[in-house]
């Protein structure tokens, strides 16, 4: 009921928070991330029965490697599509706010303050901070994924094309790239399937799921309650009407639920298996 209330409020006005382009990119990111985790983790925990089972079920060594590389290519595509859109916004449309300001993903001084205030609220020693368009934990998610993609991607490509890189780089780098690739991947998988899931979906205010990443729409109440600073800013700018949109249609909400729950189930399974495997090591 809580979820139904937060995800669909017919009496409310709706505003566009996430453009279709970014929703599609997030979809591509989810799909390739899950695929990479499912094909990579068996290799990381190769001595366990489930890993052997998964590897053989996928069609063997050649198949795993093929799928892993295919998903890697998709994620790389995702990464560069995002970079391209940032550059487009910043340099062609001239929106320098992408790099700095209240609508930027770049950490601002106020993010640090909001984090401290959030902690204060955790302890019941102050009011909830007035969050803006992007909160500090959302920025952390973003940069964690950004750093993760760069690090895992670079190390992955170095190993993929080991003959080429090995011709001018010392071989012991491959020892390091595998370690970084595997540890960073484990960090990413665990972080996304626990911390990101909690921050965005499982905390009591959002449970079981915030559909905004699928519908892209935010009710006026949500905007005002959850992002008062952004709401205020939009009001002052008078640009609130320009992002006004229709309420999320039923099919879109159902689509989001199906995709979302599938990802959550897969994610939890991967998290459980890898955590157990890690603890047994």
């Amino acid at each position: 009921m809580e979820s139904e209330r937060q995800n669909f409020e017919p009496a409310q006005r709706y505003y566009l928070r996430i453009h279709l382009y970014h929703r599609l990119l997030h979809g591509l990111l989810m799909a390739s991330f899950l695929g990479l985790a499912a094909t990579g983790m068996p290799l990381r925990f190769s001595d366990l029965a489930w890993a052997v089972g998964v590897a053989h079920a996928m069609g063997g060594f050649g198949a795993i490697l093929f799928f892993h590389k295919s998903f890697a290519f998709l994620l790389t595509l995702c990464f560069f599509l995002h970079i391209a859109s940032v550059f487009y916004l910043a340099f062609i449309r001239g929106e320098v706010g992408v790099f700095w300001g209240s609508a930027s993903m770049v950490p601002q001084p106020r993010d640090f303050v909001e984090m401290l205030r959030h902690f204060r609220w955790f302890f019941g020693m102050g009011p909830k901070p007035q969050f803006g368009r992007f909160t500090y934990w959302e920025k952390f998610d973003y940069w964690a994924v950004f750093w993760g993609m760069a690090i895992i991607g670079i190390t992955g490509y170095v190993m993929w094309f080991s003959s080429f890189f090995g011709s001018f780089l010392p071989g012991w780098l491959f020892n390091i790239t595998l370690l970084i690739h595997a540890d960073e991947a484990l960090l990413a998988v665990w972080f996304i399937f626990t911390i990101h899931f909690f921050n965005s979906h499982f905390r009591p205010e959002k449970f079981p799921m915030d559909l905004v990443i699928f519908t892209g729409r935010l009710s006026e109440r949500q905007l005002r309650e959850e992002r008062p600073a952004e709401y205020q800013e939009l009001l002052e700018e008078g640009s609130l009407e320009s992002i006004r949109t229709d309420s999320p249609p039923l099919w879109l909400r159902n689509f989001g639920r199906i995709i979302g729950f599938s990802v959550v189930v897969t994610g939890f399974l991967l998290f459980g298996l890898t955590l157990l495997a890690f603890l047994r090591e």
């Binding site: 011709s167 071989g171 960090l187 309650e225």
Partner: protein, 436 residues
Amino acid sequence: MVEKDALSLSRPLFIRLGKPLLSSAIFFIAVFLLPVLAPAQSGSKEICLSCHGVQGLEKVRKGKAVSLYVDREKFSQSVHSRLECASCHRDASQVPHPPELKPVECSTCHTDAFQAYSQSVHGKAHAKGDGDVAFCSDCHGSHNILPAKHPDSRVYPLNLPRTCGTCHGDPELAKRHRIPVANAYQLYMDSIHGRALTRSGLLVAAHCSSCHGSHEIKPKADPESKVYRTKIPSTCGACHAGVAAEYFDGVHGRAVKEGSSVAPVCVDCHTTHEIRRVETPAWKLEIIKECGTCHRESLRTYRDTFHGQVTGLGFTRVARCSDCHGSHRILPSSDAKSSVSQANLVSTCQKCHPKANANFVRFSPHADPNDKARNPGLYYIAGFMNILVFGVFLFFGLHTALWLFRSTLEVWRRRKSPGEPEGGQDPDEGGGKNGK
């Protein structure tokens, strides 16, 4: 003529009197008629066969029926066909002979074989009165003994496994006598040697006595045994001469030669009776663990690399121990001839990585992130990664726990007193949602 008469007499008797009375009839003939009919020809085979050549001739010993029948045909083809019965059955030189004859002593002629046998595991048990243990006739037969090279001989290579298998394929017997390998016969028959022998009929394939010997078989714990640990390489080397030469050139072979009891011998990797083809994936994967029983650290560090992970999943397309180190002639990396010596590394890696060069081979196939001296780069990177992972989850674990606590408290409070405004929210919201 006389002997024939005796026979023709006995046959109708047999038919008329039936089986239960057969023994007494023969006994009657032997005791009363033969001395009269053939006094001068005692010792002649035909006289013996006049009774023992009758099918179904038997007597009861300790409640069990014991056949006394001798197949004339088979005996005449046997290796002993020229001998007289009394050559072996010495106490039967006179007819009638005593009702209970002494066991035949093959040792009278086969002195060396019997000498070897009496020192063997079988012979020693036999001397202790073990009734199950193989005696001369159990392997060779009795009246039908053929030369060992005769294809029908029970000890002809192609037939030997079945002969030994009558006991060494019987788990019950193995249990009774505490024989360590209960189903040697079954294991052998499925092995590469067993298939070569029984399916392809290869005389050169190893059979039981190729490894264990024949009369002199000794338990594997006996240093004299052909299958005593340190003797195994030369036993296998009798056929696999090329491999044995390589093996004795390598570290393991040298260690065995110097008397090491822990260095691997052939059977540690290839097993004993069930020896399989080395091309099978199952064998290729199993052997990695086998190396790891001694080289524990090397296996552990190998498992942390891509090679070790892929083989760990059960795929064999990547490097295993032997791909880099060799198999029979394994040499330490300090030896210039070694496949993993500095001089040979590039060509060894090139077997799988054709473009490998001096840079490439600086890869460490047994890198250990805990070994600061050997893998300094890896050591520090691993330390950084550990701090990163630990730090992220420490911070966000705490963050999440506190957030969960506070949010749950807020939701609970709102439910308890619906109209009450809460921090950071518009006062009119609470009433609205709960009225719904």
